[in-house]
């Protein structure tokens, strides 16, 4: 520490900054009446991000399940009461449907959309964090 630094430090201590008892009481009282802000950042941004992810994943899963179930479009009674035989061409048609390929086609845009949503949310979260920091 050089001479100038020492002088600056000493001179800072020469500034009288006693907190008077009145001021101390005033501060204590204002603190007592103040309420902490709710955990805005934690409760708002993180769960929103999580909820969006979970919702997106659940939607994608639901679509995959629905598309993969072979009974789509089949009336519920058909399985229970089928006194007549199913024509051969119906079965052929059903087997010829490229179900896996269709699934991939259907979920790809959804996954893309989910990726976009996630990045939008991430950007919004960063902006919010930045704004919160600028508050002070």
């Amino acid at each position: 520490m050089d001479k100038l630094e020492r002088r600056l430090r000493d001179d800072a201590l020469q500034i009288r900054a006693d907190v008077s008892p009145d001021l101390a009481v005033r501060i204590q009282e204002s603190l007592r009446s103040a309420r902490p802000m709710p955990q805005a950042r934690r409760e708002f941004s993180l769960p929103l991000w999580l909820a969006a992810s979970v919702t997106g994943a659940a939607a994608a899963l639901a679509v995959i399940i629905l598309v993969n179930v072979g009974d789509i479009g089949k009336p519920p009674e058909a399985a229970d009461s089928a006194p007549y035989s199913v024509p051969q061409y119906v079965n052929e048609l059903r087997h010829e449907l490229p179900l896996r390929a269709t699934t991939a086609d259907l979920t790809a845009p959804l996954e893309e959309e989910m990726k976009n949503l996630r990045s939008d949310l991430e950007r919004a979260r960063e902006r919010l964090e930045r704004d919160l920091e600028f508050t002070f």
């Binding site: 600056l8 800072a12 001021l23 603190l31 805005a40 002070f136």
Partner: protein, 187 residues
């Protein structure tokens, strides 16, 4: 003696006594800083109160990556700036009564000494922002990184400003010394 980080963590969990200890630890230091920034003692005291209340209210948003003091001084700076702008508006409406007493506050708060207090010299020579950087560095012993964070400036700016400010004050001291010798010689 618990560290700031421990007290902050306890305060964030809801311990009022931990926050009171932080207040006791910082109130005098903050007031000393605010006295160098505000126009009147009342303004400085109001700014101190606002700073501590805001710190309490927004404690949850405090990022422990930074020193607690940096965060606190950042709030104090903002409050001091708000107080200054309020005074400017008041001065515009009610003439210059407040402006007249402004330069005297720091002088009033300084204990009597044979020589001029360097912070008065700094106040005369430096801009508010550079003055704050000097204060943080030499009165509060903050690192360049923390100062940059508190002022919202790049570290390069802080380094250069501190260097220039030191040179300026040093030159002023040299001039004073030379003129003192001269006056003695001729007196």
């Amino acid at each position: 003696m618990p560290t700031d980080a421990e007290l902050v963590s306890r305060a964030q969990e809801g311990s009022a006594s931990a926050f009171v200890r932080l207040v006791e630890r910082y109130q005098e230091r903050l007031l000393r800083f605010l006295l160098t920034r505000c126009a009147t003692r009342a303004d400085a005291e109001d700014a101190l109160q606002d700073t501590l209340v805001k710190a309490f209210r927004y404690l949850d948003t405090y990022n422990p990556r930074w020193q607690f003091s940096t965060w606190l001084y950042r709030i104090a700076l903002r409050n001091a700036a708000n107080s200054a702008s309020r005074n400017q508006m008041r001065d515009a409406v009610v003439d210059t009564e407040v402006a007249d007493e402004a330069p005297g506050l720091l002088q009033e708060c300084i204990r009597e000494s044979e020589r001029e207090n360097l912070w008065l010299t700094a106040k005369r020579l430096l801009s508010d922002e550079v003055y704050a950087a000097m204060w943080f560095r030499y009165a509060e012993d903050m690192s360049v990184k923390e100062i940059s964070r508190a002022l919202g400036r790049p570290q390069t700016w802080t380094r250069v400003s501190l260097l220039r400010a030191r040179k300026r004050i040093g030159a002023e001291l040299t001039d004073e010394g030379a003129s003192g010798k001269e006056s003695k010689a001729y007196g």
